[in-house]
């Protein structure tokens, strides 16, 4: 028997690591990955609550989160590629020119 709060703590930790990565990392792809990590943290809490309240909709919601994450990853990576092509760097601090 695993108390629900353990799952919540785990997802909270994952989410916190995602946020830290989002804030601290300088490589755009790594930032992107920390966002995915955050999403995974959220998915875990979704499934945990689904099983606690016996509502399958929690799990269904995880699917939709995944779909959105996939779409986001696709477009995000395309953007990263085009940024790399024009700026020739992936360091976030370098990519701060407010015009094209």
């Amino acid at each position: 028997m695993v108390p629900l709060s353990y799952y919540l703590v785990l997802s909270a930790i994952l989410f916190a690591c995602g946020v830290l990565g989002f804030l601290l990392k300088r490589n755009i792809i790594t930032i992107f990955m920390s966002i995915e990590l955050m999403l995974n943290g959220v998915n875990l809490s979704f499934v945990a609550f689904a099983s606690q309240w016996h509502a399958l909709s929690g799990q269904i919601f995880v699917f939709f989160v995944m779909v959105v994450a996939a779409a986001e990853a696709a477009v995000g990576l395309a953007i990263i590629i085009s940024v790399y092509r024009t700026r020739d760097t992936l360091n976030v601090d370098r990519v701060d020119l407010l015009k094209l």
Binding site: A16, C17, G21, N27, L37, Q59, F64, I81, R85
Partner: protein
């Protein structure tokens, strides 16, 4: 038994997440993220969500992360520069981290919610499929539309522009020269 499994994979998960932060090369952090996702799949199995676990492995670890690894390899950007950035982040970050830690500890000890009977909710593909295509049909259709648009967007953005780009483009291309 379940608690043991949960703790093992929980720790693996957290280790992967922390590793993602610590590693300087994006490929390393990508691999640690894959580890996190795999261990999460196991966590889902513990919670009885089999279909979600399988999909997690196939979609997340198998497809999205491959995309990430793919792009990392394609761009081959290398190590992250160690910029000696301002220390404000530390000043601001550490206390907030401690605060969050305390908050979590407090919530765990005080609000010990009732335990979860593992496998009590059996998320097998049949029921999830039935639910997905009846009650959640509309979101399903919308997300499919979303995916379509994402694909088109990705193709347009990543395709090689006819005019030579501003910066010196990396030698490698996706092979789909126009």
């Amino acid at each position: 038994m379940h608690l043991a499994l949960f703790l093992v994979f929980g720790i693996v998960c957290v280790a992967g997440a922390v590793n993602l932060l610590i590693q300087s090369h994006p490929i390393q952090s990508a691999l640690s993220l894959i580890v996190v996702m795999a261990s999460l799949a196991v966590e889902y199995l513990l919670l009885g969500a089999e279909f979600v676990a399988a999909v997690q492995v196939i979609v997340y670890a198998g497809a999205i992360m491959v995309l990430f690894v793919f792009v990392i390899m394609l761009l081959n950007a290398g190590e992250e520069e160690r910029s000696q950035g301002s220390h404000i982040a530390l000043l601001l970050g550490l206390p907030s981290l401690l605060l969050v830690g305390v908050l979590l500890a407090w919530s765990v000890t005080h609000h010990a919610t009732d335990s979860v009977r593992v496998g009590s909710l059996y998320g097998d593909p049949r029921t999830i499929g039935k639910l997905l295509f009846t009650q959640y049909l509309l979101p399903f259709e919308i997300t499919s539309l979303l995916i379509l648009i994402a694909i088109m967007g990705a193709v347009v953005l990543a395709s090689k522009p006819e005019v030579t780009p501003v910066g010196p483009a990396s030698g490698l291309t996706t092979g789909k020269e126009k």
